[in-house]
């Protein structure tokens, strides 16, 4: 398989998602496919399955996509989005159990080296106390 694992950032806040994506771009670089989404269509806080699907599409890589989420609905909506993906893609997208900002930077650093999806996920999750 070619290319690096993609990273998707899902926050309740568009500002948090955008800021996290900027940190990944500036700290790690642009060699990692990146998608992000946050907020509801009216500009409030929230997450939406449609926006998450679009972000996965933007960050899509044959190597798969690791999703970083903040709270509650970000996780459940991400899981719902994964279920709605075509079957060929579904098994190549994971939600990481990691803090969104730190996890995104760590996961992207790992992904930039060409590491496979399970390694990228494990690196992000190293931040989470067992």
């Amino acid at each position: 398989m070619k290319g690096n694992v993609g990273i998707v950032i899902v926050s309740h806040s568009a500002d948090v998602a955008r800021g996290t994506a900027l940190m990944v771009e500036q700290m790690v670089g642009r060699e990692v496919p990146l998608g992000w989404c946050g907020g509801d269509p009216d500009g409030g806080l929230g997450t939406s399955v449609e926006a998450i699907l679009a972000a996965i599409d933007k960050a899509w890589s044959e190597q798969g996509v690791a999703i970083l989420v903040d709270l509650g609905g970000a996780e459940t909506n991400s899981e719902m989005a994964i279920e709605m993906l075509p079957e060929s893609r579904r098994s190549r997208v994971v939600v990481c159990n990691a803090p969104v900002v730190e996890g995104a930077v760590m996961a992207a650093t790992e992904a930039a080296s060409g590491a496979p999806l399970d390694v990228v996920r494990r690196t992000a999750e190293e931040l989470t106390p067992a």
């Binding site: 700290m27 790690v28 670089g29 930077v105 760590m106 650093t109 790992e110 930039a112 080296s113 690196t123 190293e126 931040l127």
Partner: protein, 99 residues
């Protein structure tokens, strides 16, 4: 650079001059560079360790090496010499932005 004991392992060190030490961005750069090599590469804050995997971003960032501390590297593998050269250069040049 020096040979480490009888083993096929090389060592090198470099003084970290970056204003805030080995914080987030330098850690990412160091880890990305280490990952570009096949050799096993360790990072320590003293010549005797303790050692952490220089290819682990979580562990490298957790070293929190302050300004004016010396980073010690040891590498073992086919490209160990090139790896140590590159890492020492990165630190000596104060973690410049890559291409």
């Amino acid at each position: 650079m020096m040979q480490d004991g009888g083993m096929n392992r090389l060592r090198a060190s470099a003084l970290i001059r970056h204003e805030v030490g080995l914080h987030a961005r330098p850690s990412v750069k160091l880890t990305k560079l280490a990952k570009a090599f096949e050799s096993k590469i360790d990072l320590g804050l003293s010549p005797d360790g303790p050692w952490v995997d220089a290819k682990s971003i979580v562990k490298v960032m957790a070293t929190k090496a302050p300004k004016d501390s010396t980073l010690y590297f040891r590498a073992e593998g086919s490209d160990a010499e090139a790896a140590l050269d590159a890492l020492v250069t990165l630190v000596n040049e104060d973690f410049p932005d890559g291409p």
